[in-house]
Amino acid sequence: MLHIVNKSPRERPSLDACLRIAEPGSLLLIEDGVYAAARGSESAARVQAALDRFKVYVLLPDAEARAIADRLIDGVTAVGYDGFVDLVAGHRNCQSWL
């Protein structure tokens, strides 16, 4: 399953709930969710720790807007809107953790 998180990890517990409950699969961070992958942040350690269970993607335009595209943690994959579409199409189902 493709899991999509769009909220800041410090504003809402969406990411933590996702990482706690979801079966291994793919995780796409979009909108304010991209802050979770900012190097040096407290949440980055939690995303890093989840890399053995999830293939983690970050929507690049959202990371660029928030000025963190150059500080994404290693191991995550930046994708554009076309990549977003491919991810949705390439998974049997997806879940948005609003």
Binding site: N6, K7, S8, R10, E11, E31, D32, Y35, A38, R39, G40, S41, E42, A44, L60, P61, D62, E64, A65, R66, A67, I68, A69, D70, R71, G80
Partner: protein, 123 residues
């Protein structure tokens, strides 16, 4: 407002810039209050510190990049910008990552400053 009445206004910014409209709305109200010649200060804490992050490129999300406006605040005599140290640290940020000069305060110092205000508006 009667002539000569000046109050201490603090705008508390706690949200990231593009996921919601709060940050932009706050900036609009700050500019309005500055036009009324009030004693304005801005506080940035929690995800609000991301509003000041250098290097925002919003072309890809087709949204206006309003971060340069923070640099223009000085022209409106809005010069009191405060950032909570703990909020920066939790996000892996330092003062050098910010587009404007700010005063970095501890949580306790910021709390004291809030206490001194006449009006506190939170976004």
């Amino acid at each position: 407002m009667s002539e000569g009445t000046q109050k201490k206004f603090m705008f508390v910014n706690r949200t990231a810039p593009y996921g919601t409209v709060y940050a932009l709305e706050s900036l609009e109200v700050v500019l309005i209050s500055a036009a009324f010649d009030q004693d304005v200060s801005l506080a940035f804490l929690e995800d609000g510190v991301w509003q000041l992050k250098k290097g925002q490129q919003t072309k890809g999300i087709e949204t206006k990049n309003f971060s340069p406006t923070y640099r223009a605040l000085e022209g409106y005599d809005v010069e009191k910008l405060y950032v909570e140290r703990e909020s920066l640290a939790a996000r892996g940020l330092s003062e050098d990552d910010l587009i404007v000069d700010v005063t970095v305060l501890s949580s306790a110092e910021l709390g004291k400053l809030m206490e001194e205000q006449d009006v506190v508006l939170s976004f």
